[in-house]
Amino acid sequence: MSSIDPGELLQYLINGLALGSIYALIALGYTMVYGILKLINFAHGEFYMAGGIFGVLAIGTLGLHPALGVLAVLVACGALAMLVERLAYRPLRNKNRIAPLITALGVSIVLMEGFRVVFGAQPRSFPQLFENTVYDLGEWFPSLEGVIVQQTQIVIFLVMLVLMSALSYIVLKTKMGRAMRALSFDFDASRLMGVPIDRVIAFTFFLGASLAGIAGILVGMYFNNVEPYMGQLAGLKAFTAAVLGGIGVIPGAVLGALALGVCESLVVGYGQSSYRDAIAFGILILMLTTRPWGLLGKPQREKV
């Protein structure tokens, strides 16, 4: 009865999962920082952008070996985040909730415009790191002829899984991770128990930003397009993903991001591309007004 072509649908799903994996890497940083500081770091999207730009510089302009380049980007973005935290957020830590938000907006603009002034506004192409072979599913499932999976998409998805596992390990099994969870569970009690707050927070920012930076590299490869304003929208969507999954809940960020990526892909596929962004904001408002603790969160109590 329905005229939905399963091949077309599957293609949209595949595209959506790749997109969602990128959102996931950015969303993780949002959710971790919010879990501990209860701060929506509006500037987080800019670390993703920085990753893309640093990636173009390191691997493209400077010609570093890709592995080295990725490492350099990771460190650079993490360091940038730690700097921002130290200068702009730490002094306001004990004030009300609005001041840091405004500061975060200001930082976001500073980073965005700063990169534009230094690196120029024209989009830059990303160096091709590997052959983007295309696998036609029709080779294995004849009925799915025409549905393709790109090498880049597989890489993005795998990288996301690997990084998410690594992050889970850090958060669940290491001392630092325990400290992070303690802080997000009860900030004041943890402080009284001697948890080194400044160090833990700095580490959290570093971790979140380096993940976002890697997302920036992946996007550079996938869309071959890196420019200083790319962090704005991606940041907002990643935040939506984090809220959807449950802000402060790590697996929630990934789940929300994948769901959002798929929704977006479906909306563009079956509807119009000009509504692409509306889906993210629609989901955001829906969640905030009906179930602000997200799919995997619990009302009022946040967990990392």
Partner: protein, 300 residues
């Protein structure tokens, strides 16, 4: 030089209205709204539509009346949207409210992007000025005067005191039988309606509208105006709007400085929050004014 300055005055009027209307929402009622550009857009498109599609006959015969009509139309339209947005969102606390209003602001922009009847993605052009530049300036500043006068009276009335009470301590206010919900929604709607007024004025000043005029970044820019001037102060809103409007024009003379204009704005926001959270108005204020923004973390 005079002509250059004259060019800016209508824009200054528009920005003052934008800033003080956001001031009512953010500064006085303590509701952190990041969707102001959405109401600005509604007012602009509504006002332009009234002029171009509603009463085009009046363009030649009664242009000033038409300008008034479209301004009022813009206000009403924005106010209605303000109710639609405010009612569900205002239950949320501090930062969630910020993000929800941001979301609505963006959705409004995307709706206009897809709304072919008002130009959609190509924009709406050919909006007549409906007044000479001189008359326009007088009219717009008249609107500013009315706006500021209205706000002043609102703030100094018992209504205003209730609003401030809600901002300072919602739970205490509720226990004093202040209908918190009503005051929140009302402040929000008033602020939105006047943003709509600014929008209609903008439409007839710029004479061309495009959804890219109403992005989230514009909301942030208006926020910058009241942060710079000092939250919770009408004088601060005017001061902030003036600086933000005039500064780019001075920077225009140096090419390098004009390049980094937005960067400077961002830095200003950060620096103000770190060192002078009361804004510039705080420098002028002697007594401890209502600039202490304690955020009541509300649960509906």
């Amino acid at each position: 030089m005079i002509d250059y300055a004259l060019q800016l005055l209508p824009l200054l009027a528009i920005n003052i209205i934008l800033a003080s209307s956001l001031g009512i929402i953010n500064g006085y009622c303590g509701l952190f709204s990041l969707g102001h550009a959405g109401f600005y857009a509604v007012g602009a498109y509504a006002g332009a539509s009234i002029t171009l599609f509603g009463f085009p006959e009046l363009m030649e015969t009664w242009p000033h009346l038409l300008l008034l009509l479209s301004s009022l139309g813009g206000m009403v339209a924005a106010g209605i949207v303000g109710i639609l947005v405010g009612v569900p969102c205002l239950r949320l606390g501090g930062d969630y409210l910020a993000v929800a209003t941001l979301g609505f602001g963006e959705i409004i922009r995307i709706v206009f992007l897809n709304f072919a009847a008002v130009g959609g993605a190509t924009g709406l052009t050919g909006i007549p000025q409906l007044a000479t530049t001189r008359t326009q300036t007088w009219f717009y500043f008249g609107a500013v005067a009315v706006t500021l006068w209205l706000f002043r009276n609102l703030i100094n009335s018992s209504f205003g005191r209730c609003v401030i009470a809600v901002r300072e301590d919602e739970i205490a206010a509720r226990s004093m039988r202040v209908n918190v919900r009503f005051y929140k929604v009302f402040s929000f709607v008033i602020g939105s309606a006047f943003a709509g007024l600014a929008g209609a004025l903008f439409a007839h000043f710029q004479q061309a509208l495009h959804p890219s005029n109403f992005t989230f970044l514009i909301s942030v820019q208006v926020l910058l105006m009241i942060v710079l001037g000092g939250l919770g102060s009408q004088f601060g809103a005017v001061l902030g709007a003036t600086i933000v409007t005039l500064l780019p024009e001075f920077l225009r003379f140096s090419e390098t400085l004009a390049e980094v204009q937005m960067l400077i704005f961002g830095l200003v926001m950060v620096i103000v929050m770190l060192w002078r959270p009361d804004g510039l108005a705080g420098l002028f204020r002697r007594e401890a004014g209502p600039a202490n923004k304690k955020d009541a973390h509300a649960v509906a």
